[in-house]
Structure formats: structure tokens, C-alpha cells
């Protein structure tokens, strides 16, 4: 399957996000990218929207539910949220939405910092294989992949999507 070019998806995503925020009367959203692909998408999206705001970075390794199966990710980074979470409208950005478990972990982590007024979810890709009731508000493209097919975002500049070799088992 041919994968979309992220640069072509961004203008549409920016427009959809602006509309979503306007509908909700959110004037000062806080942007948070999930390490690492989500951070790249968030940076590109902010640029596309002409916004010059600080970006929060979330590493959800300490919150994953597959720790007992897969262990700790060896390259875990500290999360860095340079603003208050309490009472804020958040825009949470990630690259590929697959099972939805990363987003579940991210929401848990965010709530340990405070109680946000709202969380808007933005994904570059939705693979339509969610295992949890988590739905993005803004999506670049929706793809149907074969059962053992995987995609990965490369970046940060330029952003490109690539097929990954199928997992060994």
C-alpha cells in the first residue's frame, strides 16, 4: 500500500484543528507531543498553524500497560511539561494511532500533573485497529493495513512514513 506524504496531510489537519478549537471556544490551547514521533508532528503542526507556543513533551514509558510483558523501554526520556495542566485545554499529538494504549497511558500521565479542562486528540494516521474506546478529534489519514503490516514515522525533517518489516512472531 502506498503511504501518504505527511507534508500533504498537515494543511488539512491544521484547518480541522482550528475549526475544532473555534467550535469549542478554545483560544489558548496547550500543545503536547508524545515522544518521539508525536513531538515531530506537533512541531510541524504548530508551524503550519503559525503558532509560536511552547510544546510539552510526554514520554509514557512509565505508564504503559505492557511493562510486565515487554519490560521498560531502554531509552526512556523525562517528560517535560513547561506549563500548568490544571484547568488547561490540551491538544495531545501523536503520530500513529494503533491500539490506543499509548493514548490511554498518556492520559493517565497527564492526570498525574493535574485536571485538564479538556484534551483534544490529534493523530497523523489512524490505523483503524483500536483496542480501547479512544477516538481522535483530528486525523491526517485513515489506513487499513494487512494484519502483520506496520508503519513508522521518520523525522523530524522531512517527515516520512515507512513500512516496517513484519514482526518476527
Amino acid at each position: 500500500m502506498k503511504l501518504p506524504n505527511p507534508a500533504e496531510l498537515l494543511p488539512k489537519m491544521a484547518a480541522a484543528l482550528n475549526e475544532h478549537l473555534a467550535n469549542r471556544h478554545i483560544s489558548e490551547p496547550r500543545f503536547i507531543g508524545i515522544h518521539t514521533g508525536g513531538v515531530w508532528v506537533a512541531q510541524a503542526l504548530l508551524k503550519e498553524m503559525g503558532r509560536d507556543t511552547e510544546l510539552g513533551i510526554l514520554d509514557v514509558s512509565f505508564y504503559r500497560d505492557d511493562f510486565t510483558q515487554n519490560g521498560l523501554h531502554p531509552q526512556v526520556r523525562p517528560s517535560a511539561l513547561p506549563f500548568e495542566i490544571e484547568g488547561q485545554h490540551l491538544v495531545l499529538v501523536d503520530d500513529v494511532l494503533m491500539s490506543g494504549r499509548t493514548i490511554r497511558a498518556a492520559l493517565n500521565e497527564l492526570f498525574d500533573y493535574g485536571r485538564p479542562a479538556s484534551v483534544t486528540l490529534v493523530n497523523l494516521l489512524d490505523l483503524n485497529s483500536r483496542e480501547l474506546p479512544i477516538r481522535p478529534d483530528v486525523v491526517g489519514a485513515t489506513l487499513e493495513l494487512a494484519p502483520n503490516e506496520r508503519v513508522k514515522l521518520l523525522g523530524p525533517a522531512p517527515l516520512t512514513l515507512e513500512h516496517l518489516a513484519p514482526a518476527a512472531h
Binding site: D59, S61, F62, Y63, F67, T68, Q69, G71, L72, P74, Q75, V76, R77, P78, S79, A80, N108, E109, D112, Y113, G114
Partner: protein, 342 residues
């Protein structure tokens, strides 16, 4: 029971990940760096309003302290709690061993309570190693200090302190001062500094408090404090372990302070931005002057904060390594069963 061999050291699983944390001896540089990196991330957790992550939720960490300690015990407790584990602490010295129960029976009982991780502190060198090898190989065993042998989490928290304040180890001179002979902290620090690439490790102390054969650690030995402190980047002071001293090694504490105590005057011999470290508890006026311990170059209290992050890193990494090993064993067993059927 898992045999140890040169190919697969006892503390590592088949994939080279940490499954016990017993000593820094033989651990590769990459693994030490991974512990420091992971601890760096946990430091951020400690600065939040909610200082807790759900990594070890539902796991039980059991601190078994055969030897008294306040700092190590409480920071291990806090570390486990911040990982959302359930924690129990047993001061065995005051508990059933005084009623005649053996080490083995105590541990078997704790195992039956379905603990997942043991943190062991013991006055005998090699106690944690013995437990990991012969008693509970399938539980993560963390050494919280064993005799004169090793105190690996203290060693790593000292490394984290140095890295956070100095950036790296490649161009540093580090002096370890005082009672080297009785100090498991000194041993762990020498090993860690060597592995992490510190080019100039100095040990400074009276001849009677330097162990025989210390040269094997690749350190430079000084019996004169002024000479040894010259232009160092880091000074690690050790506590004078009066309780381990059986007499004859020192004329008096006053004499020791006069010759080896770190005073403001002597600290001037080191680089102006030299760090002053101490594993605690400090003996003011015995090995260190109060003005130095509380001075601007002292990072003694930072060490305590970093200690929690290091212990969080080691607890979660060992738990993860044990789980991976269990899965590998199950897979191997399934393969074997399938082979036998054919």
C-alpha cells in the same frame, strides 16, 4: 536452580538485561549508562506534584534489613512506593532471627508471601549474592549493602551525582578519602568510575585503612591528603566506620581529623568548582568540617534525592529483566515439549 558461569553472569538474564543488582563488578558500561539515563527520567517524576508512576503496580517489594540503616531503607521504600509497588520492611536483626529462625527460613517465608523483589542488606559480604544464586533465583534481588563488599545503588547514585554536575567522566579527577578498608561504598565507586571511563581515580587514607591489593582497581594511592586533593574535580568523603573498627587501626579520632579531615582550608587545594560528596551519615568534625558539609560545594543532600531515582531505576529494570527471563524460559520449555512430541 540457575547456575552461574562466565557466559551469563548471575545478575543478567539471557538477553543481558539486569535481573538482580548485586555488585557493579562485571557490569558493562552500557548497562551502567542505561541505569543513569533511566534514573534521570525518574528524577523528573520526583519533582511532580504527584510523585508516582504505575510501573510496579501490584508488585510487592520486600526490604529485608539484617543490618540497620535509615537512609538506604527509607529511600528504597520511597522508590518502591513511587513505582506504585506495595512495600514491606523487615528489620530482621530485631525480629525472628533473634528467636532462632535461620536466614533460609526467613526468606522462604517471605517468598511464600509472594514478594516479587527483595532488597537485602546484610553485614556479611556476599549475602545478597548467596540469596540470588541459591535461595530465590526467580525473584529480583537487590543488594542494599553487604559487609565490606559492595553497595551498588550507592555507587550508582554517586555516579548520577557526578554526571549531573560535571556532565561526563572522561576528564575528571575523583578523590575518595578516608576509611577505604571498611568501605563498600569506596569499592563500588572505584568499580563504577573505572567502568564509566574516569581517567584519574585517587584513594586517600592512612596505610592502616587502605586494603591490601587496592592497586588492582587501577587507582592512584595517596597517604597524604594535601597531595591527593590537588586539582581534583570531585571529593568523595567516607564515613569513619567506628562500629567496624576493632581497635589498633587509628590512634584517635582527633588524630584522624587532623590528618584526613576535609576542612575549608584543604578544600581550596581542589579545583574551585570541585564537588564535595559523602554517602552519609556524616560525622561532623571527624572526617568533615561542618562549614564544608553545609557549604556551597557540597552536594550531600542532592545525593539523597538522586538515590531515590537510582533505586527506582534499578527496581524497575530488575523486575523487567526477571519477567523477560520467565517468558524466555516458558518459550524454551514449550519448544522442548514440542520437540519431544515429534
Amino acid at each position: 536452580m540457575t547456575p552461574t558461569d562466565a557466559k551469563r553472569p548471575l545478575q543478567l538474564n539471557d538477553q543481558g538485561q539486569l535481573r538482580h543488582f548485586l555488585s557493579l563488578d562485571g557490569l558493562p558500561r552500557e548497562l551502567l549508562t542505561e541505569i543513569l539515563d533511566t534514573a534521570d527520567s525518574f528524577l523528573e517524576v520526583g519533582a511532580r506534584a504527584v510523585k508516582k508512576v504505575p510501573l510496579l503496580r501490584g508488585k510487592t517489594v520486600c526490604n529485608v534489613f539484617f543490618e540497620n540503616s535509615t537512609r538506604t531503607r527509607t529511600t528504597f521504600e520511597l522508590a518502591a512506593q513511587r513505582l506504585s509497588a506495595d512495600v514491606i520492611t523487615l528489620n530482621v536483626s530485631t525480629s525472628s532471627t533473634s528467636k532462632g529462625e535461620t536466614l533460609l527460613d526467613t526468606l522462604r517465608n517471605l517468598e511464600a508471601m509472594a514478594a516479587d523483589i527483595f532488597v537485602v542488606r546484610h553485614a556479611d559480604s556476599g549475602a545478597a549474592h548467596f540469596i540470588a544464586e541459591h535461595v530465590c533465583p526467580d525473584m529480583a534481588i537487590i543488594n542494599g549493602g553487604d559487609g565490606r563488599h559492595s553497595h551498588p545503588t550507592q555507587g550508582m547514585l554517586d555516579m548520577l551525582t557526578i554526571r549531573r554536575h560535571k556532565g561526563s567522566f572522561e576528564n575528571l579527577s575523583v578523590a575518595i578519602v578516608g576509611d577505604i578498608l571498611h568501605s563498600r561504598v569506596a569499592r563500588s565507586n572505584m568499580l563504577a568510575l573505572k567502568t564509566l571511563g574516569c581517567p584519574d581515580i585517587r584513594v586517600i587514607g592512612p596505610k592502616t585503612l587502605l586494603p591490601v591489593g587496592i592497586e588492582q582497581y587501577g587507582v592512584n594511592i595517596y597517604t597524604d591528603l594535601a597531595e591527593g586533593l590537588k586539582d581534583v574535580d570531585v571529593v568523595i568523603m567516607l564515613r569513619l566506620q567506628r562500629e567496624r573498627m576493632t581497635g589498633g587501626l587509628l590512634p584517635s579520632e582527633g588524630e584522624f581529623y587532623r590528618l584526613y579531615g576535609l576542612t575549608s582550608e584543604r578544600l581550596k587545594l581542589a579545583k574551585p568548582d570541585a564537588l564535595v560528596m559523602h554517602p552519609g551519615p556524616i560525622n561532623r568534625g571527624v572526617e568533615i568540617e561542618s562549614a564544608v558539609a553545609d557549604g556551597p560545594q557540597s552536594v550531600i543532600l542532592n545525593q539523597v534525592t538522586y538515590g531515590i531515582a537510582i533505586r527506582m531505576a534499578v527496581l524497575s529494570m530488575a523486575m523487567s529483566g526477571q519477567t523477560t527471563q520467565r517468558l524466555l524460559n516458558q518459550e524454551a520449555q514449550a519448544n522442548k515439549a514440542a520437540e519431544e512430541q515429534n
